[in-house]
C-alpha cells in the first residue's frame, strides 16, 4: 500500500516541527526518514501512524484519506524506539495481543492464534523464549519480539521509530540484515526513522533527508551520496572536505591555497565540497590546485587507509579526510607530520548563496584546456 503525505504541518507550542511536508512513499519499498534530532522525522512517522494529529494536511494510504481514521483502525504495524513490550505479558502473549484485540467477528479462533504466534516465534528465531518476560530478554531479542508483535496482524504498512538506536553495533548489523531479508520476503511498505546515515543508506530503497521540519532531498541511497542537492545533505551524509574562499582570475583562493575553476566569474564567494574519495594526495601541487596540508592522523583499519589532514597556510572549519588504498599507502608510505598536497578530481561548487551545487570535473576541464592550447 503506497502512502501519500500531503502538505502536513505540525506545531508544538511555538516550535514548528513540520512545515508543509509532502511526500510519496512507494508501495512495497523500504523508506528511511533520515535527519538530525529535532528535524521532525519522528513526528512525521507518528502522524502517519495516527499517534499524533497534524495541524494541516492529509495522509493517504493507497489513495484513501485516512487523516480522520483512528490509529486503532489504520491497521499498521509500529515498532517503538524502546520496544514498548508489555512488561507483564510473556513473549507469546505479547505477540498474540494484536490478534486477540481484533473485534470478535474478525478474531481468529484460539487455536489459530496459537499457531500464528508459534509461526512468528519461528520467524524471529526465538521459539524457546515464548514463556519469558520482556525483562529477561536482551535488547536484540526484545527488538525481534517487538517486530513479531507488529507483524502479527499482517499489516500492509510497517513503521519503525529508530528501530536499532538502542542496540550495540554488532547486534544492530545483524538485525538490519534480518529486517531487510524479512522485508524482501513479505513486501509490506515500510518507513523507518533513523539519525544514522549508514543505516539509512544500507537498509533502504529510498532515503528522505529531513532538516528543520522540511524535506531536503528524496533519493535512492546511491544517488543521494553521489549527488547531494544541498549543503545540508552534503554535511549530513558522510565526511566532506571544504575549502571556502573568493573566486579571482578563475581560481578559488584562500590564503596560500587555490583551486582552478575555469570559466567561473570573478569576485564571488564560493565553497568547494569534495568527498574523501574525490581527492587524492601528491607530494607536489598539481596544475589545477595547490592545497597544502599536514598529515595529522592515519587510520589503517578498514578496507581503505583513512588519512586526516590539517590545512597549512589556509583555513577550513573541519579537518580534511582523504582515502587511500592499502597498496598505494605501501608505495608512498606517508607519515604523520609530513606536508602533502590534495589534488581534487571531482568537486561540488556552491557559489554565493545558491542552494544547489555545480559539479566540477578537473580530469575533464584540464584535458579540454590542454587540447585548446
Amino acid at each position: 500500500m503506497s502512502i501519500t503525505i500531503d502538505q502536513i504541518s505540525k506545531t508544538f507550542g511555538r516550535f514548528q516541527a513540520l512545515k508543509d511536508v509532502s511526500l510519496e512513499i512507494p508501495e512495497g519499498k523500504l523508506t528511511a526518514l533520515l535527519g538530525p534530532s529535532g528535524s521532525g522525522k519522528t513526528t512525521l512517522l507518528r502522524i502517519i501512524a495516527g499517534l499524533e494529529s497534524s495541524d494541516a494536511g492529509r495522509i493517504l494510504f493507497g489513495g484513501d484519506d485516512v487523516s480522520n481514521l483512528h490509529v486503532r483502525d489504520r491497521n499498521i504495524g509500529f515498532v517503538f524506539q524502546h520496544y514498548a513490550l508489555f512488561r507483564h505479558l510473556t513473549v507469546a502473549e505479547n505477540i498474540a495481543f494484536g490478534l486477540e484485540s481484533q473485534p470478535r467477528k474478525q478474531r481468529p479462533p484460539k487455536a489459530e492464534i496459537r499457531q500464528r504466534v508459534a509461526k512468528l516465534l519461528e520467524m524471529i528465531q526465538l521459539p524457546q523464549l515464548a514463556d519469558r518476560y520482556p525483562a529477561q530478554l536482551s535488547g536484540g531479542q526484545k527488538q525481534r519480539v517487538a517486530l513479531a508483535r507488529a507483524l502479527a496482524t499482517q499489516p500492509r504498512i510497517l513503521l519503525l521509530d529508530e528501530p536499532f538506536g538502542a542496540l550495540d553495533a554488532k547486534v544492530r548489523k545483524d538485525l538490519r540484515r534480518w529486517l531487510r531479508a524479512l522485508h524482501d520476503e513479505f513486501h509490506f511498505t515500510s518507513i523507518f526513522v533513523t539519525h544514522d546515515q549508514e543505516e539509512a543508506l544500507e537498509l533502504s530503497d529510498q532515503v528522505v533527508v529531513m532538516s528543520q521540519g522540511q524535506v531536503e532531498q528524496v533519493n535512492a541511497p546511491t544517488e543521494l551520496y553521489a549527488r547531494p542537492e544541498s549543503r545540508f545533505v552534503f554535511d549530513f551524509l558522510g565526511h566532506v572536505n571544504v575549502i571556502s574562499g573568493v573566486v579571482k582570475h578563475h581560481k578559488l583562493t584562500q590564503g596560500d591555497a587555490w583551486v582552478s575553476l575555469p570559466g567561473q566569474k570573478s569576485d564571488q564567494e564560493a565553497q568547494l565540497y569534495m568527498r574523501p574519495h574525490e581527492v587524492h594526495l601528491a607530494r607536489a601541487p598539481s596544475v589545477h590546485a595547490r592545497l597544502p596540508l599536514r598529515i595529522e592522523a592515519i587510520s589503517l583499519i578498514g578496507s581503505e587507509v583513512r588519512i586526516e589532514l590539517a590545512p597549512v597556510g589556509w583555513n577550513s572549519e573541519e579537518i580534511w579526510e582523504v582515502g587511500m588504498s592499502h597498496n598505494e599507502f605501501a608505495r608512498h608510505n606517508p607519515s604523520r607530520g609530513e606536508l602533502w598536497y590534495a589534488v581534487p578530481d571531482i568537486g561540488h561548487l556552491f557559489v554565493a548563496d545558491s542552494a544547489q551545487p555545480k559539479s566540477v570535473d578537473w580530469a575533464y576541464t584540464t584535458a579540454a584546456n590542454a587540447s585548446n592550447m
Partner: protein
C-alpha cells in the same frame, strides 16, 4: 577489598551507640505504647474486654468506621487513578498546578479541613443553607464524616501512581492502540497490571488513614453516641467518661487494624520491589 573496610566514624562504639539509640527510641516511642494498649485493654480480663467490644455503642462505632472506609476507599481509588491518568498522559494548561493542589490535604491540618467543610456545608454555611431548605443534612451526620475523610485521604492513591506512571511513560499504551485494542482493553490488560501494586499500596494507606482519622471527623461529626461516633472518636469519649479499660479496648481494635495494615503494606512493598514486575526496560542490554 581485604581488611581496609573502615569508613569514617565506623568504630565499634559509634556503631553500638547508634544502633542502641535507635532501638531504645523505637521501644519507648513505638513498641511499648502498642503493647500497653493491649495490656490495658485486657487488664480487667478477657470477658470485660469482649463485653467492651460488644457494647452496642462500640459496635455502632465499628460499623460506622467500616462504612466510612468502605465508601472512602473506592471513591479515592477512582479519583486517584483518574487524576494520575490525567496528569501523566495528557498535556493541558494548569497540569502542574493540579499536581500541586492534590497535596493540599497533606499540607492542611485535618482540623482546618473539618472547619472548612463545616463553614461550607453547615446549616449557616454558604451551601448549607440551600441544602437545609431542601432537607439535606450533611454536617453532624455520616455523609459529612465521609466527605472530610475523602478530603483528608485523597492524595494517597494519586501520590503513589503519579511518579510510577510518569516513569513508565505511555509507550506501552500507544503500542496497545496501534495493535487495535479498545480503550477499556488497554486499561485492563496494560495499564492496570502495570500499576497494580502501587494501586494496592495506595489503597492500604487510604484505608489506614480513613479508619484512624480523628481531627477532621471530630469537627463535623458532633459526637452523637450511637449515631455519628467513629471508633477514634469513641476512644476519646470513653476516656472522658473515665472508662479507661473500655477506651483501651476500642484502641486495641484500632491498633489491630493498624498492624494488619503494616503487614499488608510490607507484603506489597516486597512485591513492588521484585524486578520482573517493575524494572524499567533499559535500552541496549
Amino acid at each position: 577489598m581485604a581488611a581496609e573496610h573502615h569508613r569514617v566514624g565506623d568504630q565499634p562504639w559509634v556503631r553500638r551507640l547508634l544502633i542502641g539509640t535507635a532501638v531504645l527510641v523505637s521501644l519507648i516511642l513505638l513498641v511499648i505504647p502498642v503493647v500497653v494498649i493491649f495490656f490495658q485493654a485486657l487488664s480487667a480480663g478477657w470477658s470485660t474486654f469482649t463485653g467492651n467490644v460488644l457494647d452496642q455503642f462500640t459496635l455502632h462505632a465499628i460499623g460506622l468506621t467500616l462504612l466510612v472506609a468502605a465508601l472512602t476507599v473506592p471513591l479515592n481509588l477512582i479519583f486517584g487513578t483518574a487524576l494520575a491518568w490525567a496528569v501523566t498522559r495528557f498535556r493541558f494548561p494548569g497540569r502542574k498546578l493540579l499536581v500541586t493542589l492534590i497535596d493540599i490535604p497533606f499540607a492542611v491540618s485535618p482540623v482546618i479541613a473539618g472547619l472548612l467543610y463545616l463553614l461550607l456545608y453547615g446549616r449557616n454555611g454558604w451551601l448549607g443553607g440551600w441544602l437545609a431548605t431542601h432537607d439535606v443534612q450533611l454536617m453532624f451526620a455520616w455523609p459529612g464524616i465521609v466527605m472530610v475523610t475523602v478530603f483528608v485521604t485523597c492524595p494517597f492513591v494519586a501520590r503513589e501512581l503519579i511518579p510510577l506512571m510518569q516513569h513508565q511513560g505511555s509507550e506501552e499504551e500507544e503500542a496497545g492502540v496501534v495493535l487495535g485494542a479498545s480503550g477499556w482493553r488497554i486499561f485492563r490488560k496494560i495499564t492496570l497490571p502495570n500499576i497494580k501494586w502501587a494501586l494496592i499500596y495506595g489503597v492500604v494507606l487510604t484505608n489506614a488513614r480513613a479508619v484512624g482519622e480523628f481531627g477532621a471527623v471530630s469537627v463535623v461529626s458532633g459526637n452523637i453516641r450511637g449515631e455519628t461516633n467513629t471508633l477514634p472518636l469513641h476512644v476519646e469519649l470513653l476516656y472522658q467518661d473515665y472508662n479507661v479499660v473500655g477506651a483501651f479496648a476500642s484502641a486495641a481494635l484500632l491498633a489491630t487494624i493498624a498492624i494488619l495494615t503494616l503487614v499488608v503494606k510490607a507484603f506489597v512493598e516486597w512485591r513492588q520491589s521484585r524486578p520482573t514486575i517493575l524494572t524499567p526496560e533499559k535500552g541496549g542490554v
